[in-house]
Symmetry: C2
Subunit: 231 residues, 2 copies
DNA sequence: TATTTAAGTGTTAAAATTACACTTTAGTTT
DNA sequence: AAACTAAAGTGTAATTTTAACACTTAAATA
């Protein structure tokens, strides 16, 4: 028996995931073309109901894994959407999360099964319910976060080049950056290990590969360091 | 009948409010000394259950009004807390909100009825459940927001002096600020109307009163202006 | 009228940000 | 093998922003 409140106050709780990827040119979202009601045929975020015996964050992890096969990736709560009529089916409160994944890593079969597709953030189709609001808020959040926390690396492969990193920031902020200033700033923070390898996929000369060093970052943070990229 | 999911997936949803006030010296929170179970005798945030026919934000507004009598004040969603065992009574997901109120305005009788008290943020007692987490996150959020959005004014009377405003920022960031630099920066943003009145309550000379001008702010924002205070 | 107390005000030095263009590398073409 | 191409890599100077700092003013009170 409940300590609290009658059955009629109990509500359906869902989680929805805004999933970001970066293909070296554009920032993209993984969206579902729904083949179930409500909103059949429309685009939506991947979502699912939150279970009684599972934390909200765990529910988001489960939903993310269901679609991408990925675990232990960047996943952060965005906002709880609780307007009475947000879902035309019935009252559902949805907690949105956003995730940053390495676009090479996801499970192609699962994505196909779920009828999901990568869509550039600059060209998001109409979405069901209030999912467009979620997407807009997620983009604002990413833009706020990415300049003050080293989360951009979550969208890049383990090893990446300076031009790749710059192009990621340019994609996030839709703004051209000066490569000298950008590189200077990034290098000066001393968070990256420069490798002896080059990536030659995008130029004859090749570009040196770098790797984000989380230990260095933690070390610096404990000394009062604040990550910051000028955009 | 439900389109969706069985009854056993329905959950209790609550809202909790972190309520800030500023008494010209300290930043304070309005906390409840609970006289009901669970956690009877302990301190907690003011909260309540979210109803089926009421949006989350409306639930937070209702709870805030229940305790303070106030409506149409600054109220923003903080975070949804959804760990399975966060409430020892039973599974309850709680969406925390934080509010900034003018400390003169609240309804003293309601506060007394609810057994609530103002406590300085520098001296928060032990709190029930995960309310301490909520409080900590709220303070971080306030600190992040107050330097980039003109929300400090929500904690001050309609008319306030420059020293009052400075003292508010000093209370939020627990840091002494240089009054010349502070004043210069605030004035330079051109968001305040300087009145011909002085407040003499804290000095013989008296200090000029100012008023935040939201229209000016909106006007500037539409031209690409970003509020910012150095702390 | 002398004293007290908080309000009010400007300048200079340091640091951070922005603007800007040529050289290097190595594969490809002639 | 020499010339060409295309992206990577690199430094300096000007500007803007931030930080540091101390005396004068106003008005009530003694």
């Amino acid at each position: 028996m409940s300590l609290y409140s009658p059955l009629e106050d109990r509500q359906l709780l869902a989680v929805d995931c805004v999933i970001y990827g970066f293909d070296n040119h554009e920032l993209k979202l993984l969206l579902i073309k729904r083949n179930m009601e409500p909103g059949k045929g429309m685009w939506s975020l991947m979502g699912g109901f939150s279970k009684q015996n599972e934390g909200l964050y765990q529910a988001a992890e489960r939903v993310l894994k269901q679609l991408t096969g990925l675990q232990n990736v960047y996943l952060e709560q965005l906002f709880a959407y609780g307007d009475v009529d947000r879902d035309p089916g019935e009252r559902v409160v949805s907690v949105a999360y956003y995730s940053l994944i390495k676009i090479e890593d996801y499970d192609k079969d699962l994505v196909k099964e779920n009828n999901a597709h990568w869509r550039p953030v600059s060209d998001i189709p109409d979405l069901v319910f209030d999912h467009r609001e979620m997407v807009d808020k997620a983009l604002k959040r990413l833009r706020r976060r990415a300049r003050i926390q080293p989360i951009g690396f979550e969208l890049l492969p383990e090893k990446f080049t300076m031009p790749q990193l710059q192009s990621l920031y340019e994609a996030i902020y839709q703004k051209d950056l000066d490569k000298r200033n950008f590189c200077k700033k990034i290098i000066s923070m001393d968070l990256l290990d420069k490798l002896d390898e080059k990536d030659k996929s995008s130029s004859k000369k090749g570009a040196f590969l770098y790797r984000f060093n989380p230990e260095k970052y933690q070390e610096l943070v404990s000394k009062g360091f604040y990550f910051s990229v000028d955009v």
